[in-house]
Subunit: 358 residues, 4 copies
């Protein structure tokens, strides 16, 4: 991706010399996520174009200089099926990393496929091989978890593990998820698995809602065929007029934020997790929506290595029940990559995958 | 108070027949708080005018039918100096009271001086005697705590004990308090006593700020002589550019809410506790202010019996260090009550007190 | 139950005069739980024998004086299928009820079937009709939930809802449940529904373990055929040598407590919920088991009205997946009640039910 | 310290070649803490004797290879007064560091003065110069904080910041601190500064108790002149018979653990932070002490970089009110080091300091 708003180009890079502890991953699958569309639109600041996109990626260990190990110190072998945590650096020392316990806000944070220039190395999954920098958190895929499972979950699953941690769902809580993209679907699936009494997904189009229902949602409300008033009425109807104990915003729209404030019940929680770029302002009434409601609103940014490791456990446990492999709806080769971006931009399918060897 | 926007009248009521477990308090001091001004402005819905205002009140036990006891079962004697929790009914059974753990949102909640008609009895502290309904939470004032201490704290102190519980201050956190009224001053004082590294109060006029500094604030920013930009710059300057770990909104202004969102640091918390009436909308950017900041926003409504009991402990512990008695700046007799309301409306003094026997 | 260690007798009581707000329940099913065996053994102090046992009970509304309502204020009609919360009084005012947020430790707490003498009224579910005191928390059974479902869950389900709240399971945590009685089985089932990555139940006999597996446990370890070392080795084996993120003690044995301390991982949590009577001391090494492990140990006593209300939601949601009706293995009529107690004492079946009309 | 139980020897080491990012600290003061006595007694396993003891140390920057920066990226200059976090390595990747959020349980954790052999470099503060490995968390001492303040707080202060985080003190809670050593005194001081309603320290000898009172404790109970029954009675007397909301164990004795369980109130919390070595077993009754009490017991191991950074804020804020400089009672030169160890072993003074240049 040479720059925003221009076509992605194919470039060839020499295979890098590996430092001690470094490794190369042979890419099996990467994804086109919403962030990649934002990158293409130039909506993120400070991106050192040209970049190699693809922040969540899976494949096999191609080669390592020295012994590559997983987080428990087990040696990994060439050919092992691997996943790695896409945040490849946080400082571990700053106030955000330590006293504030919010490493996703570390000023030194670097993310594959986003913060590194193509000149710096193979830091993106749309390349056939990805450079695993020393210190990157690497894990073997559990035996039962396919590449398609993992990448179908992708960054949306990691984000969702974080969202669910922030949501603190108590047995029986009704959960509303705003958004039926990769984040919303995983959040709905995990909310159900975390004890939600009822999971309601709001989004569209209908094909995504059907998938959301298959992922575990109990009800789906079509954004395209309802008014805000109807959606609110539906949620109130499903919650005996109380509103939802937990609302999860995974839509990225200022209007969604305004709606969600109305849908949460007194003493409920509202996790804001879809606003990864600035899409405009919302109008909020601090009295009606927050103070009198005794509401908790919790922003949720990025994910941590722990969420990545838990995501693998989640995939291992639930892959038979939750069809993550269907989220990654279609796979594109490198020559089709601009088409993949356009499909992702159009939201026509839940997620486009990238197989750079195809 | 016969109705909104008309002068308060003096009326005489017969001394009530007490049911078993009921009691009468001889009022020593009550207060004119912001809510009383809102009541007078007709800004609260569902108020059964005429009412006897005065929700937080202290005095001596006049008489009881049967033995009145405190919460630990100790008998109270006539003449004992008492305080009581102004929320005299919550159901204890509804979802808000039980599963949701938010009794201040109980639909059956009733509050002295606000929710009961004068026709229902002496449910307000601007009366010379107040009816203590069976079941009301009653406590002896600790020996060292004067009527002036207690009523200087008043409802603002109870609210602040709840705010501090919600704020979860960690040792060393910088705390910004927006508002230098009775709530803001107590919140600032208790923030300092809860381990805040630095307490900054924003408000006015200067006399209130001086009192806030005497109550424990480290810095005071005058709302009247600064711009929003200057206030933000000051907070950033005092926090090494990070923003405050905790911001407490006790101002009740939509602009304050907007400012506070900018003042909180990444991963910080923002307690919204000043919006007891609807004063209009705020403009919020979910990306900039919440999602990317990984911010917690926590509405805080009313107070619970536990906050009342802790407030008494707080007064007992800190009354020598925190000059609550100075918050109640001037005391008015019943014939001066309309003057007291006007003074409270004008914010000229931190709090007007009422001595209905004067 | 006239006194400890003597046979339970059948007595007839006149139908009580109902006060305003009081009601009578026509018992459908009650249970013989572990507490009833403790009562029979005289292991609880302060019990005002003779008592009518049966603390968790379900049936139909026989008659009410005035309109009986559920917690949301909906009127209940004669013939409605009801459940009620067996804790019929807590004061709502003491430090335990308020400031300490632990109403199950209220000194005034009274529980059906345990704390009320038969002379005080029909306060136990082994009677054909149960007196619903004004103020008791009453709820309609959800349409899909049968009497057998509800009573199969019974007090063990309520306790388990509380346990799960205390356990704060995070997605992927391994959970070990010690004990395969009514509490242990429900705790295992709900742990799985709350996102546990793996649920291991330790107990016996094999029939109970089989039921525990059907309720949702992934692994069962037979207490009767293994040594403590073998059990620990098995748990370590299933957790990559780390130990369990959450251990739940629902066994009531000092040896179980000692074992559980070894099974919890560093930074894990251990909920102690099975020691409802004093069964002796445990030997604990504060260095090895707590301090160095950075372990959380959380006692869990009784349940609150909110847990009762959530239990009904849980039954409604999961009754098709979790066979609670099988926990109540056999139903006894009043003339068989001493036999039922002996069966319960022998632990031969998970739970004996009581149908006082049979 | 060549080996356990033999005298500490003076050895000379060449000044090390610094790698990029490495630095040398010119020691001003180090300490002899309880852990050093344990090291000398050989009570810690896996220690690679010979070692250079002294894990918490302060001094001036001697020289750096490249620019040494603090955690916010500010450059440090030669001669700057510095402190550094004694845990110089945790992996940041393992389950303990990430998913479990307990980095003090990281298997790769290394600590100055304890885990590194003298053959590996100058990793201990009893040396005149200390090697600051690249990646060590370094901070300037706040201007007002003297070397004596910092080292008087020392590792006990860091541990106490962690303890207070675990204790979650709510305004008005009574706090009992068991132990009047460096940890206990700092914990008592910080408990008071965190809103404790009453702080009671149990320990001895009287000189330490006097200092604890000066540090902020409200009451001190002398371990040497009281029986366990008297101590419990005293705590109950000071808490209206309820027991303490929070008990902090900083004594390291199995008997203290048993006593503390009795002193905590229903629904209270007990932080176990003094058992850094195995001093034997305690006898615990799970029914009486944990289950029925609905008690939280929280092990607390080590401290994190965030606690170190907060400790500096705490020193800056409170150094005028809390006389940490008096905890470091006497300073020893290198030739007196064996005497210092003996004094520390005897508990005759709160803490012995080491000035290796004296």
């Amino acid at each position: 991706m040479p720059a925003p708003r221009v076509p992605v180009e194919l470039r060839e890079f020499p295979e890098p010399d590996l430092p001690a502890g470094g490794a190369l991953l042979r890419t099996a699958l990467s994804e086109v996520c919403g962030t990649d569309v934002h990158l293409w639109h130039g909506r993120l600041s400070g991106v050192p174009y040209p970049i190699i996109p693809g922040h969540v990626t899976t494949g096999t260990l191609d080669k390592a200089r020295g012994t590559l190990t997983d987080v428990q110190g087990n040696a990994l072998a060439e050919g092992d099926r691997l996943a790695f945590f896409d945040v490849h650096r946080t400082c571990g020392k700053c106030l955000a990393c330590t006293a504030h316990r919010t490493p996703t806000r570390c000023p030194s944070r670097r993310v594959y496929g986003i913060t590194d220039s193509a000149a710096d190395g193979l830091f993106g999954g749309w390349a056939q091989k990805v450079y695993l920098e020393p210190g990157v958190v690497v894990a073997k895929l559990p035996d039962r978890v396919t590449f398609e499972d993992y990448i179908g979950g992708g960054c949306g699953l990691l984000t969702s593990v974080h969202i669910i941690e922030r949501a603190k769902i108590v047995l029986g809580d009704t959960v509303v998820v705003q958004g039926a993209g990769a984040v919303g679907m995983s959040a709905a699936a995990l909310a159900k698995k975390s004890g939600a009494g009822l999971v309601i997904v709001i989004g569209g189009p209908q094909t995504r809602l059907d998938l959301a229902l298959d992922m575990g949602a109990d009800h789906a409300i079509d954004l395209d065929t309802t008014t805000a008033e109807e959606r609110l009425a539906r949620v109130m109807d499903l919650t005996s007029g109380l509103g939802a104990g937990v609302v999860i915003e995974a839509a990225g729209s200022p209007r969604a934020f305004e709606e969600g404030l109305l849908m949460a019940r007194n003493g409920g929680a509202y996790v804001i997790a879809g606003h990864y770029t600035n899409t405009g302002n919302s109008t909020v009434n601090a009295h009606e929506h927050i103070n009198r409601k005794h509401l908790d609103i919790r922003g949720c940014w990025g994910s941590e290595a722990g969420h990545f490791l838990r995501a693998l456990q989640v995939l291992d446990r639930y892959r038979d029940e939750i069809p993550w492999h269907r989220v990654g709806a279609r796979t594109y080769g490198l020559t089709e990559i601009n088409e993949a971006l356009k499909v992702a931009e159009s939201l026509a399918i839940p997620k486009a995958l990238v197989d750079p060897w195809r």
